[in-house]
Amino acid sequence: MKKGHWSLIPICVIVVAIPMAWLAFGKSVVKIENPVFISRLPKLNPDYTDTVIPPNIAPLNFVVCEPGSGYSVKIYSQNSEPLKVFSRTGKIKIPLRPWRSLLSSNKGGELFFDVYVMDEGRTWSRYETITNRIAKENIDAYIAYRLIKPIYNTWLDVGIYQRHLEQYNQSSIVHGSSFGYGCVNCHCFLNNSPENMVFAARSGKYGGSAILVNDGKISRIDTKFGYTSWHPSGQLAVYSFNKIRQFFHAAGMQVRDVVDIDSALCYYTIKSREVKSFSAIADKGRLETYPTWSPDGKYLYFCSAPILWTNRNQLPPEHYDELKYDLMRISYDIETDKWGELETVLSADETGLSILLPRISPDGRYLLFCMCDYGCFPIYRPSSDLYLMDLKTGEYTKPAINSEYSDSWHSWSSNSRWIAFSSKRRGGLFTRTYISYIDDKAKMHKPFIMPQKDPEFYDSFVKTYSVPELITGPVKVEPIRLGRAARSTDRIQVDIPITGATPKAGSTEPWQERE
């Protein structure tokens, strides 16, 4: 061997040693004999215990938060081979393919996690078996949300993203940097379909507008859409316009607070490109917001509160902390474009709380809504909780999925079996997306956090997930096209039939943006 070739030896050793080490330690060839039984559940981060999961969800990677130098998890169910994962750090990363196979062949069955921990003396312990259940019904494969830092008055990095729930892939739908570091919000889809969506785009440079995606065609509408709901027929979208003011609490956990000084509802008709309204949904003495259609398109549900102040320039306005919204509905005939009588579905007088964000399950059976101590913005109110109303009986209950922090901004899956919602339960500041199963007896099961490839992802992620919307597939319109539309001068001009709360499309004030 030539002298220079000796240097190849260490390289060869490394080349051979690395795969061998990986085989030895990376794979689950771990022999566990006579483990000591510990009669409690192990601590997991995130907490994936005693919950119901969709059969098409990505692997629920987690960290075993128990002291040890080796960790082994056996994941199994009735109808398939167990899946074993070993880790030296406690980070359990479950391989995608066997996980999928395990879940798909055990729909409706139970899913068990046996967690083993090895201590410094190489003695293994086994904890009580964690039991989860695999639902029969899939969750919609994608979820769209906005990612932002906890912003107040100014923003730079705001984007709407979509995540494939069956894997971990996240991609951008649109980012504010594509139109002068603008703000994007209030994204809304028609019947959980990614083909039809609308979102608000606001930029100091390009003005404010609504971007409408209708079967792949993009238009820029020269008005701002607030909270929006598509009519199930896809022929129109009702939206709110809100004159929002922001103010701050000098003490207490939540610094930010907002109030709608004025608000009303309008609707935009896709075919005729008109904006219309109706006196009952744009009452000058009341604040109307959060519209949502019944799945048959015959009723518009929304929230409404009396205006409690006379001085609309005072900040905060008088009695802002006494403002409570009622839940209303009004019938509508799409054929004749006629509105019916206004009805109170649930009044704030009855509940003592402000009723916000009604969303009806696609099967038309349940109405999920928030209630908080006052005001119009549940994400800033730690008191906000989710409530479920049976639309057949009109009775509502508070499901056991709530936390001590704000729970709000929920979205139904297209099969009415899953909800995704926002919760601040991990510390009170950062909003994370949780998923919960609702069974045929209207029981909502313990929610679990949207899984991530890195189980410690949420521990150091300083952005919030806002407005999670479940969708059946990916939004295929490219971000660059949406950015171009938001910059475009080619706009659909509309006349707004209401004055007062109506904001001008071009003006953008920081306080009008909120989480």
Binding site: I151, F248, H249, L429, S460
Partner: protein
């Protein structure tokens, strides 16, 4: 084509010495005079200083767009600026590599005699740092482009198609790692083809592909905006990614743009010049006489470019250019201000005042005033000396200033110190959004949440910070302490803030926050000295003498020996204007202040109808008094 040089001329022998001296001087200048640690600490005003965190998640972000790898490396290297010696080494190495690349490039195109030109890009880099900007990513991209074009030229492939393929591969690699700098590579390689290989077709093709390729790949495959696709990491791309990109302004930007033109221009002109010299040489050979005109020109040129005289001349030119560039490009005001920020970050308040004294008083911005007041408070001199410095009513809180980074950083700092924790939280989140995940911002947010008892949220910020190369250890230490004691009860600063922070909620709008907040703070804790002094300072700046008089009794809540001078002056003004007595709660006005008032009144009384004359007569002796400020500047008067 080979270099015209052969053998070892005296100038060639001297080149390593020249380069050694030049770069040694370069290093010492950057280390000891520019002090890269100042650039590290200038993130408050520096939109182009990057953060860096260890781990895959942070790296991943840089791998998905053209130019990301170079930005990642630049972000990593930038952390070395925390230590001036290391920062200087990084800058010097970058400059040295650019110099060497240029030198080889010029030699390759046949300009071995003009290697002193190779120093120009290094001088350009120094000029940009002289402005206290941070163009490392851009210069690393430039450096990569130069060296890759050298590699291309060194490979010297004969078969055209193979050359073309090699160019394509190199261009693609460079486009990925250095973004828009790949255009420079295309220009340099194209120039080489045209001027050295005399292959116009390939030269044109490279240039065409350089522009069209970046455009097609960036816009149509990667779906980038055209500026991001073609110009990223070049000085032509500014302002598109606020807070993330090297945003070079004014002189620094012009210099970098000039360099981008300079490098290919040098390559082209050296090639042309070389051809000219060759032509002259050949015509010289065809002419018979040794003393022909061409021969004389050639000898003259050789004497000035290649001989010892050439070396002396070029070295002298280099020195003159270097010294002149440094002299004219140095931004001393910016350096002083960054120094001031640095000292305030370190709580070195006497040094803040010393630095402020170096900045001419008339050029004191509201930002300088803000730090001066903070330093005066920390050194116990606010009530005695604040009017020795220029003051405006925005100086204390700077809530309406245009520079958002500074506004939010100052707001965050001052509200936190005062105990207005929620308002500090608001300002810090604004700061975070406008500036990025900078270590001190993350640390501030962690502290705010610990003070408020929101430990889980604090942990999120600390875990991010734990991946920082400089502050990571500190963050990990706090995380360990939180595990042991989630309230950090033994921490003096945390306890101080908890004892001063507001616990009773009230609704605040930033505009009308100052007076009410300070009064609420004093209601909460009457021993909050900073709240008291800032309240009195605010009253003085807005000319509210009656408020000063009515709050003077609060002095007894603290350990003041007498009455601070400016408060005495305000009380005397109040009594002399209104004729009302002020209850001094057992304290008394010093005789010296009484005498000064008499003297001030005497002069002002004589010249009151001529404001300018009064100003001139009083400024020297009373310019540092509240009498003077009240009469000439305060808004509210009796």
């Amino acid at each position: 084509m080979k270099s015209v040089e052969s053998g070892t001329s005296p100038r060639t022998r001297n080149l390593p010495i020249t380069a050694g001296i030049f770069f040694a001087g370069f290093y010492l200048y950057v280390w000891l005079f520019l002090e890269p640690r100042l650039i590290y600490h200038s993130y408050v005003i520096q939109p182009d200083f990057p953060v860096f965190f260890t781990g895959w998640l942070f790296l991943k972000k840089f791998l998905v767009y053209p130019g990301g790898p170079v930005e990642y490396v630049a972000a990593f290297l930038s952390q070395g600026y925390y230590y001036s010696w290391l920062g200087a080494l990084i800058i010097t190495l970058a400059a040295l590599l650019i110099y060497l690349g240029m030198r080889i490039l010029i030699t390759l195109v046949g300009g071995g005699y003009s290697k002193v030109i190779s120093y120009i890009p290094a001088i350009g880099l120094l000029i940009v740092y002289n402005r206290y900007r941070h163009p490392l990513a851009m210069f690393l991209a430039l450096l990569t482009a130069i060296w890759l074009s050298l590699l291309y030229e060194k490979i010297s492939l004969r078969i055209g198609v193979v050359r073309w393929l090699v160019f394509l591969v190199m261009f693609a690699i460079l486009y990925y790692i250095a973004g828009g700098a790949s255009l420079l590579f295309a220009v340099l390689s194209g120039s080489y083809e045209v001027f050295v290989r005399r292959n116009l077709f390939f030269g044109g093709l490279y240039l065409l592909f350089g522009f069209a390729g970046a455009w097609l790949v960036g816009v149509y495959i990667l779906e980038l905006e055209i500026t991001d696709a073609c110009l990223y990491l070049t000085p032509f791309h500014w302002g598109d990614k606020r807070g993330e990109l090297p945003i070079l302004k004014d002189f620094a930007k012009s210099t970098t743009i000039c360099l981008y033109f300079f490098i290919p221009a040098v390559v082209m002109s050296v090639s042309l010049w070389q051809r000219l010299v060759e032509n002259m040489t050949s015509s010289c050979c065809t002419e018979s006489g040794v003393g022909s005109k061409s021969s004389v020109i050639k000898k003259t040129l050789q004497y000035f470019w290649s001989g010892r005289a050439g070396w002396v001349i070029q070295t002298a030119v280099l020195m003159v250019i270097s010294i002149a560039s440094l002299f004219f490009s140095f931004d001393s005001t910016r350096k002083k201000f960054i120094h001031l920020l640095y000292f305030s970050d370190q709580d070195r308040w006497h040094s803040v005042l010393e630095e402020a004294n170096k900045i001419l008083i008339h050029s004191h911005s509201v930002y300088v005033n803000h730090y001066v007041n903070l330093a005066l408070y920390h050194t116990g001199r606010l009530g005695d000396d604040m009017f020795s410095y220029r003051q405006t009513k925005e100086s204390l809180f700077t809530l309406q200033t245009k520079n958002m980074r500074l506004r939010y950083s100052m707001g965050s700092n001052i509200f936190m110190e005062l105990g207005l924790v929620n308002l500090a939280e608001k300002q810090t989140y604004e700061w975070l959004e406008n500036t990025g995940n900078y270590p001190l911002i993350l640390m501030r947010l962690a502290m705010i949440n610990i003070v408020k008892g929101q430990v889980e949220t604090a942990r999120v910020f600390l875990r991010v910070l734990s991946k920082d190369m400089i502050y990571g250890r500190q963050a990990r230490d706090i995380l360990r302490r939180l595990d042991a004691d989630p309230q950090l009860t033994g921490d003096v600063e945390i306890e101080r803030l908890r004892s001063t922070m507001l616990v009773e909620d009230w609704v605040a709008s930033i505009d009308g926050i100052v007076e009410n907040s300070l009064l609420k703070l004093l209601e909460r804790n009457r021993h909050n000295r900073m709240a008291f002094e800032y309240l009195m300072a605010q009253y003085m700046l807005t000319g509210r003498l009656e408020k000063i008089a009515s709050n003077i009794g609060r002095l007894n809540d603290f350990d003041y020996k007498g009455i601070p001078r400016h408060y005495e002056e305000a009380i005397l003004l109040y009594t002399s204007i209104t004729g009302k007595e002020v209850n001094l709660h057992g304290r008394r006005i010093s005789g010296e202040t009484l005498e000064r008032l008499d003297k001030f009144r005497g002069i002002f009384g004589r010249l009151r109808h001529n404001v300018r004359a009064a100003d001139n007569a009083l400024r020297a002796e009373f310019g540092n008094s509240y009498f003077f400020y009240y009469v000439f500047f305060a808004e509210k008067k009796y």
